[in-house]
């Protein structure tokens, strides 16, 4: 059985990892972007971002001072046993992670209109920042995967969730989302951007799918429609930090969910910034003899994970991870499983807890 302490530590470590470390597919995307960018000023920006990633990784500093709002995705294996307090343990881990990082202290004081108007200021404690409501998915096996994504504020200002008429042509939906991203790219400032898009049946589902797109997205595996959106944004010529020319979008992540018999699709766009997606996963295995001898019945589990059209579904991740598991409880840091072969040595090691803050 997974203990609350293991779960808390895993959430904490995932938060710090997500906030401080570029994944291998991100580094690869920037290296490719450097080769493609024709503007010397644009190349300079890309080089600074890569240098920043190297320092952030080495010293465990935040990649950006807008450390973002924590978003948690829990993928629960059908054989995993944990207490009803596991969700509180995740929340505690998030609080600890924000204090360790440290996150920007940006939780707003007060209730109701005071909170809306920010009239009472902010809490000094970075740990007061609540995570967004958790997303929960069922997966096979005996692992709990805790993913933390840190969502900065600029991309929220440039995003939107709205209906799009498909007019019986899927490309119309993709092209409309591409136009939204292209129109907002210049105002984002922190380019190259990453359009992150969920398409579903309701406003809620589309937004949840947008987070799923960020969860699964991989710069080295781009679908034709992701490539199309990237091309549309790159045609703007905004370039890194708005200095021109070639690389305005590093890539795009699109998650197409279920569709309703209707003339509209609901599209949710987050125009991710140059650090998106800040994401890390810690995998906990509920191993031990008891679990292996007495598999837990999964009949009561509900399985909904809209992963039909994407490389790197939860199931594939599980299969890949399982080869690495030790027989007892352990936790590792993983980027997306499909990139694991490219990860530099040390990527799987646990983070160092005791480290000085930036200031």
């Amino acid at each position: 059985m997974l203990t609350d302490e293991e779960i808390r530590n895993a959430a904490r470590d995932a938060l710090v990892q997500a906030s401080t470390t570029f994944r291998p597919d991100q580094v690869e995307a920037y290296q490719t972007a450097l080769e493609r960018e024709t503007s010397p000023q644009g190349r300079w920006v890309l080089e600074q971002i890569l240098k920043n990633a190297a320092v952030a990784r080495e010293k465990r500093y935040p990649l950006c001072d807008d450390t973002g709002i924590p978003h948690v995705v829990l993928e629960v294996g059908e054989q995993v046993r944990m207490s009803g307090k596991a969700f509180q343990a995740v929340a505690e881990g998030i609080r600890e992670g924000l204090r360790d990082l440290p996150g920007r202290p940006m939780a707003v004081r007060g209730e109701g209109l005071e909170r809306l108007g920010q009239t009472l200021g902010m809490y000094d404690d970075p740990g007061m920042l609540e995570a967004a409501p958790f997303s929960l998915y069922w997966i096979p096996g005996n692992v709990l995967k805790i993913t933390v994504l840190m969502l900065g504020g600029g991309p929220e200002i440039r995003g939107k969730t709205m209906c799009v008429f498909h007019r019986h042509r899927g490309e119309n939906v993709i092209e409309e989302a591409g136009r939204w991203a292209a129109e907002a790219a210049a105002a984002l400032g922190c380019t190259p951007c990453v359009p992150i898009i969920g398409i579903g049946r309701t406003q809620y589902e589309a937004a949840a799918l947008q987070l799923a797109a960020a969860l699964e997205g991989d710069f080295t595996h781009q679908s034709p429609w992701e490539a199309k959106i990237t091309e549309m944004v790159n045609n703007t010529g905004v370039g890194p930090l708005g200095l021109g020319k070639s690389v305005t979008a590093l890539g795009s992540f699109v998650k197409i969910g279920p569709a309703r018999a209707s003339g509209v699709r609901i599209v949710s766009l987050r125009l991710g910034c140059c650090f998106d997606p800040r994401r890390a996963t810690v995998v906990l295995k509920d191993g031990g003899e008891q679990n292996e001898q007495r598999p837990i019945n999964s009949d009561l589990s509900s399985h909904y994970r809209p992963n039909a059209n994407k490389i790197g579904s939860g199931e594939e991740l599980f299969c890949f991870f399982s080869a690495f598991y030790r027989p007892k409880f352990t936790s590792h840091y993983f980027g997306p499983a499909k990139n694991l072969a490219n990860q530099p040595a040390g990527f799987l090691s646990l983070s160092t807890r005791a480290r000085p803050g930036p200031f």
């Binding site: 300079w44 600074q48 990649l63 920007r104 650090f275």
Partner: protein, 166 residues
């Protein structure tokens, strides 16, 4: 090109759009909350009370939090709106991100000031900071006007001599 603060007028005059610079010495920070207050203090003749040295100064549009520093968008009303008053008061380099209006570019040219941009590379900036202190408006917390002593802070000239990179 390496630039020491306070910046000499002739150094700023030589800068052109696209120049890459590294700034060393004391700089000020300020954004939406502090910059309008600073402008009001200047207009009321209360700058000496604040003890700030704006002649040849650099103002970086950023908060200063335990998470570090990083440029905020400079074309927000309170920030871009402060540039004319601050430039006339001696500020020579405004550092942030995002495009500014043609009117602001004109004011910068008239006052011999420039606008520079820098990516939000917080981890690099932490390595560039030698010291920090709150210089004015402590009530604004992380948005207070801070004085940072920096070494080789990277930036690129975006608006100078009436020309804009955007």
């Amino acid at each position: 090109m390496k630039i020491k603060t306070p910046v000499l007028t002739e150094v700023v005059r030589r800068l052109k759009v696209g120049d890459r610079v590294e700034i060393s010495g004391p700089i000020y920070t300020g954004r939406d909350a502090a910059l309008p207050k600073l402008c009001r203090a200047i207009e009321k003749g209360e700058l000496p009370k604040l003890g700030l040295q704006l002649e040849g100064a650099v103002i970086f549009h950023t908060a200063v939090s335990p998470a570090g520093i990083g440029p905020t968008t400079s074309n927000k009303v309170e920030i871009e709106g402060s540039i004319p008053v601050l430039s006339r008061a001696g500020v020579r380099i405004h550092l942030g991100k995002g495009a500014l209006s043609a009117d602001t570019a004109k004011v910068l040219q008239e006052t011999g000031a420039v606008f520079m941009v820098t990516p939000p590379v917080t981890a690099l900036f932490i390595n560039n900071i030698r010291s920090r202190r709150v210089a004015a408006f402590p009530e604004d917390g992380m948005e207070a006007l801070h004085e940072l002593v920096v070494e080789d802070l990277p930036a690129i000239v975006a608006i100078a001599r009436g020309e804009s990179i955007f």
